[in-house]
Symmetry: C2
Subunit: 286 residues, 2 copies
DNA sequence: ATGTCTTTGTGAACGCGTGCACAAAGATAG
DNA sequence: CTATCTTTGTGCACGCGTTCACAAAGACAT
């Protein structure tokens, strides 16, 4: 979630592809690539939609934003569509990427094949810990933070991945931006502030789990209690260096005396399907 | 993004909290927790919104769905709100979780502190590789896949995390569901099919990067080429990596006769390159 | 050519999410 | 108790995204 302004001047009216559509293109591409490997020549919107897990009407509308690449009565040419989507997403070019913070997660990311398989090339692995410098991870020697700016400039890196502790995320983001990076994928649980023109997308495992927990709670019985009732189980422990941490403490109702029954007994509305369709997976860049 | 059905009868009108709001609650909770640690008693919607990186009006509306916990002229009581949101998200209770696939990513997740800090407890680590069995990861001994059902039942696990290669994701999901899991967090790049009533959320690094690439491409110059134009243009730039094997070659728009399509880039590279575990979907239309 | 059958492309309706703007609630001062 | 000032809670309008439903484009058969 980009911290700075989050405006949408709707300036993108002419050739702009809807954000929701852009977010689905990679999904279609993946399905198409699989078909391509099986040498399937064409595919109908119905089949492809099924493979991508979406509605066929939605898929057709999405493709309509790219132009008319289908043939009525037949479907879409797989190879041609793979190319068109790849081009639209900018995957026909090479994107050098730097990963900052080579800890548990950073190392896993460096080893991840999903990078290279789509035109993303790990240009460098950066870590502030001197003990890490020179150490090979996924076949690449880790470089010290001091090299950050140089690496970015020399390789023309425009995409950076942050996998440092939360406390270091903002400073790292600032350096990345100052050095020329204009797109950041942030794994640290923090809201980053970046100047306009810089895109930030975040991946937060903790948030995903919390959303699941919410739905899970709905499925099996109602809320724990009215809320101002007894203190709940307290959950302590926390990983070091997180903005998070303090255990869930029972209420404290201060300020003005909380008139009781603030929580309106959740009416057991069962119509609410568990389908978490609407939830946005991540963030929509500005 | 649930894979299975994705409808929204809109039946949820009374007590249902909007999905978009639910997705933001963890964000507010994080900001509030930080304030709580600094012993800040109250906070205004403006301040909190800023800390969470959202619009203040949006935040107030979100909170309005939970009830009226604020005090006009003053703001919100931090401790009280932390408790209310935690309760709403179901964090006042303990959620045992199983992680399946203890490879690079799975191990990182097991070591992640964000789990425990919010009521999520790693009940077990499961891996199919016999060599991994018994091996301690993050202080927990890895168990063989055979133990999956037993572990789920004995611990009452309802949330499962999949970090196996894409090809194994669906089978693992099936077993998880059969054993009683009703919420799945999937890290494998595949569309999962699950019965109604089971929530699936996915985290796909590759998709995030592709979305960033799309915007990045827009920022610096337009598309490589019109695309609809005659193929053969030097778009063939295509970095060595290319999009998953098929060398993103401008396929001819065989709108009518698709002859050569039968022999399209005969999957030359085998998914062994330092990055191609199983990125491709194994799911096919019914 | 003409007819039939399949599947695309999209107009239109609808619902959700966002953000503005403001009345009202309540704190605080006099 | 009254006045003023701060900040919430929300009615309302708007735009985006989703989905339906269907005309028409084109393949294919005769
Ligand atoms: N491990 C996970 O599964 C997981 C999941 C979601 C989010 N996260 C988040 O990702 C981040 C990293 O997690 P982790 O488990 O890998 O932590 P980690 O402690 O294992 O690794 C962090 C690494 O960052 C380096 N680092 C610290 N400050 C730095 C700086 N200023 N510049 C460059 N490098 C710096 C450290 O030397 C260390 O190697 C954390 O913010 C965590 O909350 C982790
Ligand atoms: N590493 C990353 O940063 C990253 C990022 C995004 C997505 N992913 C995806 O996450 C998944 C795991 O990635 P990884 O890098 O950890 O891969 P990995 O190969 O290191 O680990 C996979 C693990 O799963 C185990 N496994 C295989 N089949 C299994 C089964 N049926 N049941 C239980 N365990 C099984 C393997 O023994 C192995 O230990 C992949 O699908 C990958 O595409 C990884």
């Amino acid at each position: 979630m980009a911290t700075g302004r989050n405006h949408r001047p709707a300036t993108s009216r002419s050739r702009g592809i809807p954000d929701a559509t852009v977010a689905r293109l990679p999904l279609y591409l993946r399905a198409l690539t699989a078909l391509s490997e099986r040498s399937v020549p064409t595919v109908s919107s119905e089949e492809l939609a099924s493979a991508a897990g979406v509605n066929s009407a939605k898929l057709r509308k999405d493709f309509s934003y790219l132009g008319s690449y289908g043939t009525r009565g037949v479907g879409y040419d797989v190879e041609y569509l793979v190319y068109q989507i790849s081009r639209e997403l900018g995957l026909t070019q090479d994107w050098p990427v730097v990963i900052v913070g080579i800890g548990n997660l950073g190392a896993a990311l460096a080893n991840y094949g999903g990078f290279a398989s789509r035109g993303f090339r790990v240009a460098a692995l950066i870590d502030a810990d001197p003990a890490m410098t020179g150490k090979p991870v996924a076949g690449i020697a880790v470089q010290h933070s001091d090299e950050l700016e140089r690496v970015i400039e020399e390789n023309g890196v425009s995409i950076g991945v942050i996998a440092t502790p939360a406390a270091s995320a903002q400073p790292v983001a600032d350096r990345l931006v100052a050095a020329g990076v204009t797109s950041i994928l942030n794994f640290a649980p923090t809201v980053l502030s970046v100047p306009e023109g810089v895109d930030v997308r975040k991946v937060d495992l903790s948030i995903e789990l919390q959303i699941l927990a919410f739905h899970e709670q709905r499925k099996s019985g109602e809320l724990p209690d009215d809320g101002r009732a007894v203190p709940g189980t307290d959950i302590g422990e926390d990983a070091g260096g997180g903005v998070t941490g303090s255990p869930v403490a029972p209420p404290a109702a201060s300020v003005t005396k909380r008139t009781a029954s603030a929580a309106p007994a959740a009416t057991d509305r069962r119509g609410d399907e568990p389908g978490n369709d609407g939830d946005l997976p991540a963030v929509m860049p500005a």
